[in-house]
């Protein structure tokens, strides 16, 4: 915490918390918190798939995003599609033809960076379930303020400073290449390049955290 206070200007990755295997019914689950944003993720599968969604040579990835309040809207559908496309390319889908891997994400609190937190939670839940993946993925959200400064999602929700743009960038662990990007607001190409390099550095911490959580879980259950 001291580090945070002394350097308010340098980008700081907010605290991460995770509980693996929290839910008894799901095959894998994780409740993941980044700063103040919290998402609960559960995965089922590979299990039987509905006929209409069956793919002959690979597993179907299904994603359900549940909002905190009310019924799912277009923005949730958009998030679902993004996460589904991401994990369809990440999970070794060819290992389980004609089956389904289901990921359910429940938003518990959103203080910024919901998509990134959802992706990280989903990845941890898949890890917990032991679904084979090509590589791990992690997402980090960068905020660009009006002066062009780039920062990460802060611990506390900023009340007065509003970011002019935000970028959520997903990296893979293998060679830290960009897997997915979503943006809001306007930004320049140079700001994009800087955000990528900042997020790339930050995801290394997230990948390390994945490892720590897995180690912790395995050391308990053995």
């Amino acid at each position: 915490m001291e580090v945070m206070e002394t350097s308010t200007n340098s980008p700081c990755l907010a605290a991460l918390t995770c509980v693996l295997g929290d839910l008894s019914q799901a095959d894998g689950s994780a409740s993941f918190t980044h700063g103040n944003t919290s998402v609960l993720a559960a995965t089922y599968g590979p299990c039987e798939v509905r006929m209409s969604k069956e793919i002959l040579d690979q597993a179907t990835v299904e994603v359900v995003c549940k909002p905190r309040v009310g019924l799912p809207n277009c923005a949730d559908k958009y998030r679902e599609r993004h996460i589904r496309d991401l994990f369809q390319a990440t999970i070794l889908v060819n290992l389980h033809p004609r089956s389904s891997v289901m990921i359910v994400l429940q938003e518990r609190q959103d203080d910024g960076g919901l998509l990134a937190t959802s992706i990280n939670a989903a990845c941890l839940a898949l890890l917990d379930a032991g679904v084979s993946m090509k590589f791990l993925v992690a997402a980090v959200t960068a905020l660009i303020d009006k002066d062009g400064n780039i920062n990460l999602v802060p611990e506390e929700k900023p009340s007065d400073v509003e970011a002019s743009a935000s970028l959520t960038i997903v990296f893979n662990e293998k060679d830290l290449q960009v897997m997915g990007v979503t943006s809001s607001g306007k930004f320049s190409q140079e700001q994009y390049d800087r955000s990528v390099s900042l997020c790339r550095k930050a995801t290394e911490h997230v990948f390390k955290f994945y490892r720590e959580s897995m180690e912790r879980k395995l050391s308990k259950s053995v």
Binding site: C74, A165, Q177, G185
Partner: protein
């Protein structure tokens, strides 16, 4: 022979072409399909009943956009802001993969994408749509209907919407302060001012390393990921890469480069087609 290979071994078919740096439809990798934009000649609108409209043809993909204006009360939280509601419809007519009924998931995703582009680029100032603060504002419904689906509907939608918006004029409405009655003056029309023109460019990733701009439907199906970049000429308004194969920084830079290039191209297209209508626009009432 080529047709058989195309059906039986589509990937191999494409690979052979791409080795030579061209695509089966004779395009280069970074080349868009021929784009036809029709913003109409009658009253500057191709749908005569709409406030603004545009029809776009991107190769075989056709999207029509109509802008409809209605009056409504603003939200309590934002008393001076109007509404702009985009909706993308993938009708059953455009492809056998869509069925009639409630909007498919893809249609919802596209609607959200278009809404995001409008929000991020802020090309229409919502405050311009205010008639009387807290009492009356314009609601602009932007209905985008896909008539023929041959890939890259996202780019077609954004271009159709921008062209239609840049060509939308609303009648002047006055609210009487005392009686609260509204008075619409159809003779006097005001054009909507766009602060910028967002234009999008989508590239498909083929076999993890080739980037095909403006993919056709078959190219979309074969691709291992899509990247959509929306620019307003100066800045990037939206950068979307939903999963798919990982992309090197260089490749991403190329996509952005192409988007900027497309922006100049498309802006020229919009101004040219507008310019051509000016001669008929001078006497709109006679036409009607």
């Amino acid at each position: 022979m080529a047709d058989e290979v195309r059906t039986a071994q589509p990937k191999e078919f494409y690979r052979k072409y791409l080795e030579q740096g061209v695509r089966p439809d004779n395009r280069e990798l970074g080349e868009f399909r021929p784009t036809v934009l029709d913003i109409g000649s009658k009253n500057g609108s191709c749908i005569s009943t709409a406030e603004g409209s545009a029809l776009i043809r991107l190769g075989n993909t056709i999207v029509i956009c109509g802008i409809k204006g209605e009056l409504a009360e603003p939200k309590t939280e934002t008393p001076t802001e109007g509404y702009l509601v985009p909706n993308v419809e993938l009708s059953a007519v455009c492809s056998p993969q869509f069925r009639p009924g409630p909007p498919s998931e893809q249609a919802q995703v596209l609607s959200q994408f278009v809404a995001n582009v409008l929000k991020n680029s802020q090309c229409v100032e919502l405050e311009d749509l205010c008639i009387a603060p807290g009492k009356m504002v314009w609601v602009l419904y932007a209905d985008l209907i896909c008539l023929d689906y041959d890939g890259n509907v996202a780019d077609a939608c954004v271009l159709a919407l921008t062209a239609a918006l840049s060509n939308t004029s609303l009648p002047v409405v006055r609210v009487d302060e005392e009686t609260g009655k509204t008075e619409t003056d159809f003779k006097e029309e005001k054009k909507i001012q766009l602060t910028c023109t967002p234009i999008s460019a989508t590239s498909a990733i083929f076999e993890d390393n080739v980037l095909l701009v403006d993919p056709t439907r078959q190219e979309e199906e074969l691709s291992t990921g899509l990247v959509t970049v929306v620019t307003d000429g100066k800045n990037i308004c939206s950068l979307e890469k939903p999963g798919g194969s990982p992309l090197k920084d260089q490749q991403m830079r190329l996509c952005i480069e192409r988007a900027f290039q497309r922006h100049t191209e498309a802006c020229n297209l919009i101004t040219q087609s507008q310019g051509s209508t000016l001669s008929t626009l001078t006497s709109p009432l006679v036409d009607r």
